[in-house]
Amino acid sequence: MKKQKRIHILFTLPMVALFFTFHTFPLIRGLMYSVTNFKGFGSYDFVGLSNYIELFKDERVLNSYVFTFKFAIVCTIVVNILSMCLALLLNSKIKAKGFFRGMYFLPNILGGLIVGYIFNYIFTFIVPEFGKMVGNETLSVSILGNTSLAWIGVVIVVAWQSIAFNTIIYISGLQTVPEDVYEAGAIDGATGWKRFWKLTFPLIAPFFTINMVLCMRNFLMVFDQIMSLTNGGPAQSTESISMLIYKAGMTADQFGYQSANSVIYFVVIVLISLFQMKVLNKREVQL
């Protein structure tokens, strides 16, 4: 038994070594850079916590947090409502069920960057033409050029891809609800909306939790779609936190400063994930 343990430790060593080298080590380096004025090249000095203090006064940083959160919250709500509806439809007694499920899942397998380019064209050329046709002034110009509307474009594109994924999760949730629950509910008069709210929803609550947590986490890390849709513009109004760290850290000599930003970002993600799991787990019902 002792020998088994020793050999099993050997089994884990390659992964532990790789993980430490390419995950933990850069994490530690990031923490170290975050208290320096490193530009990404040349020499640097220890500056204490001044990077962290600066962050809270930096309008570009604050704006990126506001945008990222606004986007993530709205997108999470939109995606969950629509994918729940779609899942209910796709799970009901319809024709060509397999075909529809396959089609509605399609957006999820496509790369976010390319999808962003395609929608960029639609928002820039097709939607404005349509807007002119119906005589709507706001829609007659590209929403991607409008600082107060561009973020909605990002929501639409990201939701288009995520709904596909979340719907599949909800469908697998709906399939765990046994038919006799509905039959028993029908006797007690639970039909329609009441049936969904009092019976279906509590029973698929674990899947709701998964979707909420996954959505929030993914959306807070949004990058690809923005890269091709708006590139953070106009006037940095759609610059997500990931994008800011990438742009300013890699190309604008803010290596140390953006490392501090990424530490804050990391703490925020951890806190939100923990909070969500705690709150949402309370609501689940065991069958």
């Binding site: 343990k5 050999i7 099993h8 430790i9 089994f11 884990t12 390659p14 992964m15 532990v16 790789l18 993980f19 080298t21 390419f22 995950h23 080590f25 994490l27 990031g30 990404g40 439809l89 009901s92 007694k93 319809i94 024709k95 060509a96 529809f100 396959g102 089609m103 509605y104 899942f105 399609l106 999820n108 397998i109 496509l110 790369g111 960057l113 390319i114 395609i118 064209y121 639609i122 050329f125 033409e129 046709m133 994924f165 599949i168 999760i169 899947f207 890390m221 990058f223 091709s228 936190i241 990931s242 760290i245 890699m250 290596f255 953006q258 490392s259 990424s262 530490v263 970002y265 990391f266």
Partner: protein, 281 residues
């Protein structure tokens, strides 16, 4: 009663069919624009939406030449295949050792938590130091990317593999030991084949995320090896070359989407199952 039920089904089916427009419209636009001649592009709504006057393959030829399509396709293929093989092998063997020992050993419980905690770390947090480290090590190329994908998939796969391992009775291994098998053979001949359904899930999740990933190649290859460029990244790098020639750009997008669309056409069930298992388990 029966007729009423059937009627309802048809309405729902119709609703879903109408809804498909939202899925298919962007794809329709991509195909139409990719096949049109630049002179065929008008600005009024009917012209924008219409089918091409003549289906031209010229855009595709130009896109293939400008983006060096076959080269980037090959890169994406090598990186994805390498990542999938590496992940299945290295992640599963580590997760096997962890899963079988973590109940009774602090070391294994410790590395289990160590890997799992990695899930909370956003890539952007590691990005800046990682780029420096990888370029110093000379790994800013395809091989480096494969290694990184193996590392960054470990947290989720630890969860998936150790979870799946609970369903495999330990008696099988004990029987193999009695027959004189060593630890390596037990893993390779008994456990590894038994984890096949989980390998499928892991392979599909890894393949999709690796194939479509932009951020990792973007930052890792930024300083070094341009010849390692992947298929999606090439679309970003060639934006300025495409300029306002949307026809060539869309031909290039369509070419970049084609491999995964073909893959989806043939392995649709497996992909949907894989993605679902990965998220729900």
């Amino acid at each position: 009663m029966r007729t009423k039920k059937e009627k309802k089904n048809i309405w729902m089916t119709l609703l879903l069919a109408v809804g498909l427009v939202t899925i298919l419209f962007p794809l329709y636009m991509t195909i139409v624009i990719a096949f049109k001649n630049p002179s065929d592009m008008t600005t009024n709504i009917a012209g924008l939406l219409s089918l091409p006057k003549e289906w031209s393959f010229h855009n595709f030829i130009e896109a293939i030449e400008t983006t060096n399509f076959f080269h980037t396709l090959w890169n994406s293929f090598v990186i994805t295949a390498g990542a999938v093989i590496g992940v299945i092998f290295l992640n599963s063997i580590a997760a096997y050792a962890i899963g079988r020992n973590m109940a009774k050993s602090k070391y294994f419980k410790g590395i289990y938590l160590y890997f799992i905690c990695g899930m909370f770390v956003p890539f952007s947090m590691l990005m800046l130091p990682l780029v420096k480290e990888v370029s110093i090590m000379g790994l800013d190329n395809r091989f480096g990317l494969i290694l990184l994908y193996i590392v960054f998939n470990m947290p989720i796969n630890t969860l998936l593999y150790t979870g799946y391992l609970k369903n495999i009775p330990i008696a099988l291994e004990e029987a193999a030991y009695v027959d004189g098998a060593n630890h390596w053979t037990v893993f390779w001949k008994v456990i590894f084949p038994m984890m096949k359904p989980m390998h499928a899930t892991v392979a599909i999740m890894t393949a999709l995320s690796t194939w479509n990933d932009v951020m990792m190649p973007l930052v890792i290859l930024s300083g070094g090896d341009e010849s390692s460029t992947t298929l999606p990244l090439a679309q970003l790098l060639f934006q300025s070359t495409f300029g306002t020639n949307y026809n060539v750009a869309f031909a290039s997008y369509l070419l970049a989407l084609l491999p995964i669309l073909i893959f989806y056409l043939f392995a649709q069930k497996a992909i949907i199952n894989g993605v679902t298992n990965g998220a729900v388990k």
